[in-house]
């Protein structure tokens, strides 16, 4: 049978598939020999075909039945991206249970809240570290009936009366299959299209995490629509390295993977991700802007160490790529001479560079979660890498808007995804309705009601507008973060923060100014970029804190802020948001300290409370401020650091008359 014919069958055969176990069965019977999962272990990519995967998952499901898992039970999965963890989730669905993936870097108390909230009776842990956390939580919670773990290391001494290695569970399950086969088939047959597929906890920039319930319909319709939109097929390779608790990973690594039948590749460890990326060379890729920023920073740092000839070649051809690369990718007309030169550049620079980055086979990829700097975005696109942006939410099963091929821009997030309806209310907040709209927040009817109305419209909490000329959506900021300054002009912090964050030296920015007469900012420097600069300029430093207080670093940051002020002043609506004063914080904002969510979004309110002394100093005109901050170490212990921070004044561009937004 030819490949094309089989492909066609894949697409049509998927109709009427109403659950992931059903898709798994289809994949295992129609192309059982094709690779479904790879994981690098012991230095080699281990591979499982779809047929093998189906057998492994069935063994886990049988093991679950033997443990006594009931329909509707919640099974938490805590660990890094590994095939066994993905399999556990699908096995849970097979027996009618609800998989709940959790962030593995969460400290015990965060995890306790989620485990308590969903009432998980079974937990699949990646390793000893996670098991220890669950045991610690169990002392107060007493609800977990059984713990399973994938990595056996260090586990021998534990009391195994309520604990098992997943391997052992699978062996038991397979051995006892005669007893449970019938029961398992019955449970698989009972899975409904509108039944729960997965429960994902949102990170929550405010308040406690909420459990978003997604149905099989949500996941399968979203996977189908998005796969068709980008013509994904079963020959794709993806690298799964983003947190399993994040909706994106669930849709890419399970939803789309099962729908299309493509292969999911798991890195050896978090530290080897970049090497593994290069070895796999994914055809379909997803990353937050931070990954692209880090890669670009590394490329630039390494180019500075390269020989003169290489440097000149790099800069010469990159300038050419900037001119025509994006146009070529969009299929716009480009002159013959330029095409030839681009082809030469591809041979000498772009090709080798893409190979080093792991993007040789990159067909389509997305960045989302945060705004990406236009220079960074254009850099990748000019190399011929089809990087696009999308806008999504857990509550939408990811997709709200996406950029179609040929209509890609750095400043928009694209047009409504297939089957998504979009509207902007009179306050500027974005609402949507789609087949992906979540069922409910688990055990939280009040929040469900305030987010989703009776007609199925969901409020995103983001303010934005649809550009009339193109029909693309543009995001301004979180709706609740958009405010007014004392003189009535608009305050939209993210706009200014993003402009600043596009400088490689700056990692994070928090802007304050709502209800005030002027804006001030907290800035985190990027240790990689600034550290490298320090090394090249013989600036000695012993710690992150010392580097943040270096006068030359402060001067550099000040000049960045000054430039941004000039560009902000040019914007009619937001010229009031220029930064008058700032401090470079002595510590990085961190999720362990509650200052950020696990997906690395700043918790504005929390930061404002925690560092209120610094904010006061920024407004009262002091030259410096002494402060003591509590920090949490990775193992949950607390400590504190104190510092005296310089407050830096920045010139602002005078604005003659504030234009107040059409009132």
């Amino acid at each position: 049978m030819g490949r094309r014919k089989r492909l066609a069958q894949t697409q049509s055969g998927a109709e009427g598939m109403h659950s992931l176990p059903a898709l798994l069965h289809r994949n295992a019977t129609q192309f059982g020999d094709a690779p479904a999962y790879r994981e690098k272990e012991f230095g080699i990519w281990q591979c499982w075909t779809w047929a093998e995967t189906a057998r492994e998952i069935r063994a886990i499901a049988l093991g679950f039945l033997e443990l006594g898992v009931e329909k509707g039970d919640h099974i938490a999965v805590i660990g890094r991206n590994r095939p066994a963890h993905y399999w556990s989730m699908v096995a849970a669905q097979m027996v009618g249970a609800v998989p709940v993936p959790l962030y593995q870097d969460a400290v015990a108390e965060e995890m306790a809240y989620v485990l308590d909230h969903c009432g998980a009776k079974y937990v699949v842990c990646g390793d000893q570290e996670q098991v220890d956390k669950v045991i610690e939580i169990q002392e107060n919670l007493h609800q977990v009936k059984h713990i399973l773990y994938t990595d056996k290391r260090g586990m021998r001494k534990y009391d195994h009366s309520q604990m098992n290695a997943l391997d052992d569970l699978m062996a038991e399950g397979s051995a006892g299959h005669a007893r449970f086969d019938e029961e398992l088939d019955r449970r698989i047959a009972e899975i409904e299209y509108d039944g729960t597929c997965v429960m994902l906890y949102t990170s929550g920039t405010t308040g406690k995490p909420k459990g978003v319930v997604l149905s099989n319909r949500n996941v399968i319709e979203s996977a189908k629509n998005s796969a068709e939109f980008d013509h994904l097929n079963r020959n794709e390779d993806i690298l799964s390295y983003l947190p399993m608790a994040w909706v994106g990973d669930f849709i890419f690594s399970i939803g789309q993977a099962y729908w299309c039948g493509f292969c999911v590749n798991c890195p050896e460890s978090a530290d080897t991700m970049m090497t593994d990326l290069r070895e796999i060379g994914p055809t379909y890729f997803f990353a937050p802007p931070r990954v692209f920023e880090t890669q670009l920073t590394n490329v630039m740092i390494r180019m500075e160490d390269a020989g003169k000839l290489k440097q000149r070649m790099f800069h010469h051809f990159m300038a050419h790529a900037k001119k025509v690369g994006g146009l070529l990718l969009d299929g716009k007309p480009v002159g013959f001479g330029d095409r030839v030169k681009y082809a030469l550049g591809n041979l000498l620079v772009y090709g080798p560079l893409k190979d080093t980055l792991g993007y040789s086979r990159f067909r389509v990829g997305y960045t989302a979660g945060e705004a990406i700097g236009p220079e960074i975005f254009d850099f990748y696109r000019s190399l011929g890498i089809n990087l696009k942006q999308l806008y999504g939410q857990t509550e939408a099963t990811v997709f709200i808007t996406v950029q179609p091929d040929g209509e890609v821009r750095a400043d928009t997030v694209g047009v409504p995804a297939p089957d998504v309806e979009l509207k902007i209310d009179d306050k500027g907040e974005i609402h949507y309705r789609s087949p992906g709209v979540f069922v409910e927040y688990y055990n939280n009817p009040d929040s469900t009601a305030s987010t989703k109305d009776a007609e199925g419209w969901v409020a995103t909490g983001d303010a934005g507008f649809i550009e009339e000329s193109s029909g693309h959506l543009r995001i301004i900021d979180r709706a609740k973060d958009v405010g007014k300054m004392a003189d009535g002009s608009m305050f939209a912090p993210k706009y200014v923060e993003n402009k600043l964050k596009f400088y490689p030296d700056i990692l994070e920015v928090v802007l304050f100014g709502n209800g005030k007469d002027r804006c001030v900012a907290f800035i985190n420097i990027d240790l990689t970029a600034v550290g490298n600069w320090a090394e090249r300029n013989n600036v000695a430093y012993a710690s992150y804190q010392e580097l943040t207080a270096n006068p030359r670093v402060l001067e550099t940051i000040r000049s960045h802020v000054e430039e941004v002020n000039k560009s902000v002043a040019a914007d009619e609506m937001l010229s009031g948001c220029q930064v008058h004063r700032f401090v470079v914080l002595h510590k990085e904002l961190d999720a362990d300290d509650g200052e950020m969510t696990r997906t690395r979004k700043v918790r504005r309110g929390f930061v404002e409370d925690k560092f209120s002394d610094i904010i006061d100093a920024l407004y009262d005109g002091s030259k410096q401020v002494s402060t003591t901050t509590e920090v949490t170490y990775e193992d949950g212990r607390k400590g504190s650091i104190s510092a005296t921070l310089e407050i830096i004044d920045v010139p602002v561009v005078p604005v003659a008359q504030h234009k107040v937004a059409a009132e």
Binding site: F42, G43, R153, G154, K157, S269, D271, T272, T275
Partner: protein, 272 residues
């Protein structure tokens, strides 16, 4: 004479077996300097045995006697119930003893993987010619040994530096690579010469965890020298304390801690 007693059970429930190695009345001299004076102690199967003492106490000399690098003028070394004849270090290595060094002794220009592979030397049976030809036996042997090495790389969590030249690594990681190389020899007895020297707190914690895991997972008997008293007391099952080449204490960490002679050696004695 081999002590045939049954061994003991540690506080955390590990079973310690019979005597693996016994040092009997060891005296080591360098010309007129007596580095070790009439010391006897034993190391039991599965235990973590520490040798501590102030600077110049003769700890490293003791470790070198165990590893066969120094040959004592007096006394006997018994290993697995037999008196050990004079041996060259590589012969000692073949008996199943591996070590790390106080000053890291890795091949700086080689990758981590290659460094760890050198630890498998005793498991390579093919000759130079066969290895140069690479077919058949040599290839199979390489695959087999690479598998063993990869398990150790996974165990010590150094996958991300597998192909990095050792010279580019920070100190703490080099120490870990050295441990990996020693482990690659699948030793029965592992000697660690100041495994935590020069490390920061986090690196020390990591290294302690790896030492405990090695002992737990592979059942390797470990003898270590260490300066950091806190670490020693936490890690070891039994401790030998040396001062000026003499043994001044021997026992569990608690026993040693309350030993007056040990306290004097570490804190000094007032002379009034």
């Amino acid at each position: 004479m081999l002590d045939n007693s049954e061994g003991y059970v540690t506080e955390d429930g590990r079973k310690i077996g019979g005597v693996v190695m016994e040092m009997k009345n060891i005296t080591l001299r360098f010309g007129g300097v007596v580095a070790i004076k009439d010391i006897s102690f034993d190391i039991r199967e599965g235990e973590i045995r520490a040798i501590i003492g102030p600077n110049g106490a003769g700890k490293s000399s003791m470790l070198n006697v165990i590893s066969g690098f120094y040959i004592p003028q007096e006394g006997e070394v018994w290993f697995h119930g037999a008196k050990r004849p004079q041996m060259r270090p590589y012969e000692v290595a073949r008996q199943g003893i591996a070590r790390t060094f106080q000053n890291i002794a890795l091949f700086e220009g080689m990758s981590v993987l290659d460094n760890v592979m050198t630890g498998r030397l005793n498991y390579m049976k093919t000759n130079l010619f066969q290895q140069a030809m690479w077919k058949g036996k040599a290839e199979a042997e390489e695959v087999e040994n690479r598998e063993a090495v990869e398990k150790i790389i996974d165990f010590l969590e150094i996958q991300h530096i597998r192909k990095t030249p050792v010279s580019r690594l920070p100190y703490g990681l080099k120490k870990r690579v050295e441990l990996a190389r020693a482990l690659a020899a699948e030793p029965k007895l592992l000697l660690l010469d100041e495994p935590m020297a020069g490390m920061n707190v986090e690196e020390k914690e990591d290294m302690s965890r790896f030492i405990l895991d090695v002992n737990d997972e592979f059942g390797t008997t470990i003898a270590l020298i260490e300066h950091d008293m806190g670490v020693v007391m936490d890690l070891s099952d039994r401790v030998v304390v040396m001062d000026y080449g003499k043994k001044i204490g021997d026992g569990t960490p608690d026993e040693v801690r309350s030993n007056q002679e040990v306290i004097d050696a570490y804190l000094g004695v007032s002379h009034d």
